[in-house]
Amino acid sequence: MDPLRARKLALGTVETALACGAAEAEAIVLSTSSALTRFADNRIHQNVSGEDTVVSVRAVLGHRTGVASTNRADASSLRACCISAVDAARRAPEDPHFPGLPAPEAVVTPDRAAPATRSFGPEQRAEAVRAIVAQSSARGLSAAGQVSVSDDTTAVANSLGVEIAMPVTSFHATVLSTAPASGSGRARAAGGARAGAPPPPPATRDRSRPRPSATALPPSRRGRPGLPRSIRGSTRSFWLPKRSRTWSGCWPGTAARRRR
């Protein structure tokens, strides 16, 4: 969804929430388009894409707030969502520390989207996988991992006049290379580049020729030279003896509740 449409949807939702009884309201629209290619044993075994737009409403009644969300953008669904948020706010306890919704401030219109990442389609993801797999298979290793891209737009609007949207693209790749007998290596690349192609695929190496640390990688493999440090792709590699690859069961990126 383009930023203008996302802003209009957020603003319209705020107006609906006010009409449903909220004293103040905020709407966040998150429109996502993502794709992920998984590979294992040197072949692609899963390749997916998805698009979704979720509207989240925060209704404010004094120092009480309530939240509801929906991914249906028709008027009746948005209205039902707003009513749920207002209903939740009515039952919420007073939060004396709630500072109220933010007022608008002058901001530079942010844009963190890269056209090259947006157009990084299934063929390009397969090409990236092929490059990763080639490094492992040439060394007699088995590669498993993923290459993913996302193109998201977030819009925020509130009843005090905030109205802004930001597109963001990102790229991630991971690879675990495993030797037939023992030993494995893992590498990861991530980027939210403003322009140009996604970062190069992560490097993999045979454990028989280990490197002391990721810092030993040549600059060309550490990131994307020429881009500001804050937005260039980052890579890191580390080595673990196969038998010590234990983990706690706590998944990366999850919040309060642990995944089993």
């Binding site: 294992a40 969300s69 063929e123 797999v133 069961g249 990126g253």
Partner: protein, 481 residues
């Protein structure tokens, strides 16, 4: 919906797919909680969309959208085919699927009272009542009562000719009281930790828990934990309560027998398995009294359904019989690798995700050792533990450590003093091999787990495990102290 799913399938086949299926899923959720006497939050959401999965050029492709329209049907189906064709360019081994018949069916899970029809005030009043009872115990520092509800309506159609509509409701609730002693937080939960009890049922399952009636006991046990000694370390006989044993089954039998892990597809993220395909019929997984089943037909279980997300009917299958590994959790594709039909374990956590091999109701079958009281009476010396507090297991599901909320020493066939922070460790086949008693069917219960994470993009499955308390010999407990 028939017309929409037919449009998706037609578009996929016209674009060159040799197989296609489509799922349209409508999910509604509500969660609310009370903490320390105040409503903490009421959150509701709904999500509607569809996903098309295809095989083209011998490879998989999947595309999904929340835009459920005729125009989108064709676009997304073609996109799935394009993705499959790209998949086929890297190391493809043409996908082969085990046979499945075509079904035109509907299925509905049990639900007497629609929880979404129960007023919010009634729900909050129940939570508040339980929370208030816990706070009546003075030494309790933090209390929380929570409940959540999920309603799912799913339509599945495939190029095999199936058209299947399924609906179910899930209800979950629980309470937890925390005592704090010397900076250590000591939780005590009911009916289970990590969110409480989870059921494929309606509001009746929540009222049946009697949260307020159990709140005082829970709080008093948390308070007692604060005064209890640490669990002593050593090797002893361990009796494990049902809910903890359910998680033990989940981590050390369920995950290692997922065929996608066994075949290496999850190597880079969730992990693999110490079990190999060649182990079937040979691997001694446990003692001869250990029988583990995968059953998607258990009424009221989070692991139950009419058909999985490949249109395979729900089945009951043995994973371990008389202590020997005899089966896996599989899909139509992975089943081919072991030369069997699919036992219907493919599920996605929503319309936006492609299905993965998932546990159904993976259960330790009941034994013949009577009640928990009988089992304790039959144990001369040891430790009884219940309710999970934390877990850790390696990526082959071999070496594990679990901590529980509470334990009691067993002396001369009787429960003795309470101990805090009991934990135990083991190696999967050795641990199950040490099982010498399992309580009878009267003690067997199904425990729902609604937070099983797996796959990229991450999916969170709702599964379940049946278990009765069981006894294990020579187990290392109180480790790391």
């Amino acid at each position: 919906m028939r017309q929409f799913t037919a449009s998706c399938l037609d578009a996929a086949l016209s674009a060159g797919a040799t197989y296609a299926d489509v799922r349209v899923t409508d999910t509604r959720t509500q969660a609310l909680s009370v903490r320390n006497g105040a409503p903490e939050g009421v959150v509701s959401s709904d999500s509607f969309g569809f996903g098309v999965r295809v095989i083209a050029d011998g490879a998989w492709g999947f595309a999904a959208s929340s835009d459920v329209s005729d125009a989108s049907a064709s676009r997304i189906a073609r996109q799935a085919v394009a993705i499959a064709r790209a998949s086929a360019t890297v190391g493809v081994r043409p996908v082969k699927l085990a046979e499945v018949a075509a079904y035109d069916e509907t299925w509905q899970g049990p639900c007497e009272i629609d929880p979404f029809g129960v007023p919010l005030d009634e729900k909050l009043a129940l939570l508040d009542s339980a929370d208030r009872a816990m706070r009546s115990v003075r030494s309790i520092s933090l209390t929380r009562a929570e409940m959540s509800f999920v309603s799912v309506s799913k339509t599945y159609a495939s190029s095999v000719g199936s058209f299947i509509e399924q609906r179910w409701v899930e209800s979950s609730a629980g309470i937890v009281a925390h005592a704090i002693e010397d900076g250590e937080v000591l939780p005590r939960s009911y009916p289970n930790s990590h969110g409480g009890g989870c059921y494929q049922a309606g509001w009746e399952s929540i009222t049946g828990l009697d949260l307020p009636g159990n709140a005082l006991r829970v709080a008093e046990e948390a308070s007692a934990l604060a005064r209890a000694p640490e669990c002593p370390g050593g090797t002893t006989t361990l009796v494990i309560g049902g809910s903890q044993l359910a998680l033990q089954v989940h981590e050390s039998v369920g995950h290692p027998t997922e065929l996608d892990r066994v075949l290496g597809d999850e190597a880079a993220f969730a992990g693999t398995s110490f079990v190999t395909v060649d182990d079937v019929g040979r691997l001694k997984y446990g003692s001869p009294i250990v029988n583990v089943t995968a059953d998607a037909t258990v009424p009221g279980s989070l692991g139950s359904f009419g058909y999985d997300d490949e249109g395979v009917p729900a089945t009951r299958d043995h994973l371990v019989r008389d202590g020997i590994l005899v089966g896996f959790l599989g899909s139509r594709e992975s089943a081919v690798a072991i030369g069997r039909p699919s036992n219907g374990c493919m599920r996605a956590d929503g319309w936006a995700r492609t299905p993965l091999v998932r546990m159904t109701t993976v259960s330790l079958e009941p034994g013949s050792s009577g009640t928990l009281a009988d089992l304790i009476a039959d144990t001369d010396e040891g430790l009884y533990v219940e309710t999970n507090n934390s877990w850790s297991i390696d990526d082959k599901r071999l070496n594990f450590q679990f901590a529980c909320e509470v334990g009691w020493e067993i002396k001369s066939g009787k429960l003795g003093r309470m101990v805090r922070r009991p934990n135990y460790t083991g190696i999967t086949p050795r641990f199950w091999g040490s099982c010498d008693a399992i309580c009878s069917a009267s003690e067997w219960r199904v425990w729902g787990l609604d937070n099983c994470g797996k796959g990229e993009p991450m999916q969170v499955a709702h599964v379940a495990h049946g278990a009765a308390p069981a006894r294990f010999r020579d187990i290392e407990v109180g480790v790391g102290r």
